[in-house]
Amino acid sequence: MSNVIEVKNLTKSYKEIKALNDLSFEVTEGEILGLLGPNGSGKSTTINCILSLLKYDEGSITVFGKDMKPDSYDIKAKLGVVFQDVAVFDELTVYENIDYFCGLYIKDKATRKKYVEEAIDLVSLSEFKKFYPKKLSGGLLRRLNIACGIAHKPKLIFLDEPTVAVDPQSRNSILEGIMKLRDMGATIVYTTHYMEEVEMICDRVIIIDKGHVLASGTTDELKRLAKIDEKIIVEANSFDSKYIEEIKSFKAVHSADYKERVLTVSYKEGADNLVKIIEYLKKNHIKYSRVYSERPTLNDVFLELTGKELRD
């Protein structure tokens, strides 16, 4: 598989702040690449630089093997973008909005009509063709936003947090649609804060923060980077601090935190840990409602790599 995007040593500053710092990565044809990072990490800036909307200080960007410039109309014709904020005309119906944006790429009316109908089907908006955006719910609006960005059947699609503020049903429908697009041959760059989405749809993930790459790989590869191997969750109405201190001293325990009636015990190694905890609870007559084991999630890795301090 060839590289559809190659970003090399990309640097971009906003006055004193370095938004992108020597950022390099590639996107391979046919994959869904998850671009992860906390707020202000440089995800949207990276996409806007690739799209040639933003100037950058140093580095190079090639898309489909060519330098990306504002007048690279041949490259732009193969791109589809779904921005973070909904960008549709309130005065045009669902059908007209999709037709308008599709028409910026596809001149032939018959082809366009077919593509618009297909996009409407893909995001399940057939019943709402004649609706104006103001009459649509948040989820339907997001689906319209996606349809406007992909109706022209682009080969490379950028989806910048397309599921923000969307209910689980709509989110599921959107994610299924994105996987369909990949299956139809499109390459997708996907940014989100939802780790379960990344685990569900992304073939590869890049975690960036402060404008540079912290880690990259498949979700399994990234999980292996975590310092912990297993988490034991104990749900209990109360937990004496002396027991927590004792648990912390167990072999292979990395940390133990009791918050909101849940004790989370993280282990560096995972063998018989659940059995040992249950025995300890029984021996000390500690009442609990549930106890179970979990593998580390991408979220754990993400927090480990980017830190737990609050961002904007």
Binding site: Y14, D71, F89, L104
Partner: protein, 396 residues
């Protein structure tokens, strides 16, 4: 691509209720209120001849045009009476009458024929504006008459006729002047200065059309809106999207203006004079100026669409004030004290153009207004295009 973008821009703009209200409905509503307000004023206050004095020295007596026209405009039994004229022997007498409040202004003819006749006032107001405008027009028509006379003499000499018939030429000049000018048509019935308010209303509508170009430009530029970002990543030239959107805005502007003309002419009985083609031309050029004004506000100011629309409304009302929308006196003060403002005030230029078409049958003043509007449009458009020429942004 141009047609596609034009079609959808037109659709989106026509369905934007806020824009349609401000650009199409609001001027009609305001015009109706004007009519209601001014019909009461005009029915309760019949036109009263203006107290005016003329220094009847040799300079005045030797100027047949001024003597004839002032006499005609002061004739108690005539249809054209504007002035209640007192003839005095010298300027001191005239000054005394002015200071005593017995007259609103007086005229002193210059020693040199080409110099501008002197009109003196103490106060500013509607009567003073009328005096100034009438004297200016007489002088202008006299100049035209002289030029026509010169042309006739030259024509006769070119034909080899060196026995010039002075009386015949005078008659021909007067005949031509009556065709080309309407000096004596300035009857009291026609001097309805509430017309200025309606002219400023037309001008305001032209400039309010800028709201449409603000909306259009907002949808086309990546650094202004999300829709602009989406349009900018498409394989379409920025010039094509911007121009097609602006054309859609212009079409709606013209539709709005046409509706306003139809409504004011047929429902409100507003008279725009006989030269309706030139009135339409002025409206079309004025709308272009409005479009350019909106383009300028939309691209130069960094703010949201609502804030930009607010800025445009504020600028328009500022210009409307100086063009005389809220009182003719302000137009007079601006014309005399701040002539530079009149030249850069699009509302003032459109108002003045309509006024010139109605009161003067000569086109000098109208043409000057049109040229100034075109210059203003070109300058605003050039500045706007300069600011949107960037293809990549520092931040969005």
């Amino acid at each position: 691509m141009f047609v596609h973008n034009f079609k959808y821009s037109l659709k989106a703009l026509f369905r934007n209720k806020t824009l349609i209200f401000w650009t199409l409905m609001f001027p009609i509503i305001l015009g109706t209120f004007f009519k209601m307000a001014f019909s009461n004023v005009t029915s309760s206050e019949a036109f009263k001849a203006i107290n005016f004095a003329v220094v009847e020295d040799d300079n005045f007596k030797n100027d047949e045009v001024f003597v004839t026209v002032i006499k005609e405009l002061s004739d108690e039994d005539g249809d054209n009476r504007i002035f209640d004229t007192t003839y005095v022997e010298n300027e001191d007498e005239a000054k005394e009458l002015l200071v005593d409040g017995k007259i609103d202004g007086y005229l002193v003819m210059p020693d040199k024929k080409d110099d501008t006749p002197g009109v003196t006032f103490i106060n500013n107001g509607i009567n003073q504006t009328i005096i100034k405008n009438v004297v200016e027009e007489i002088a202008l028509n006299e100049k035209i008459g002289n030029e026509i006379g010169e042309t006739i003499v030259k024509d006769e000499m070119a034909k080899g006729n060196f026995n010039i018939d002075i009386d015949g030429i005078y008659e021909k000049v007067m005949e031509k002047m009556s065709d080309e000018t309407n000096l004596l048509d300035k009857s009291a019935n026609k001097l309805d200065y509430s017309m200025i308010e309606f002219y400023t209303l037309i001008a305001m509508t032209c400039i309010y059309g800028g709201m449409l170009s603000i909306a259009s430009i907002n949808n086309s530029l990546a650094n202004i809106s999300q829709k602009g970002k989406r349009v900018s990543v498409a394989p379409t030239r920025k010039l094509v999207t911007v121009l097609s959107s602006l054309l859609a805005s212009y079409v709606i502007q013209l539709v709005g203006l046409a509706l306003l003309f139809v409504y004011t002419i047929f429902a409100l009985n507003i008279d725009y004079g006989d030269n309706i083609a030139k009135v339409i031309l002025l409206g079309a050029v004025g709308s272009l100026a409005g479009l350019a004004m909106g383009l300028f506000v939309g691209t130069v100011f960094k703010a949201g669409e609502n804030a930009k629309t607010g800025i445009l409304i504020a600028i328009t009302m500022f210009f409307c004030n100086f063009a005389g929308m809220f009182g003719i006196t302000m137009k007079y003060i601006t014309d005399t004290k701040m002539p530079w403002l009149t030249k850069i005030n699009p509302v003032g230029l459109i108002t003045d153009g309509l006024y010139a078409l109605y009161y003067y049958n000569t086109t000098d003043r109208f043409s000057a207004d049109i040229i100034n509007l075109i210059i203003l449009t070109l300058v605003l458009t050039a500045v706007s295009f300069f600011s949107i020429r960037r293809r990549r942004y520092d931040s969005i």
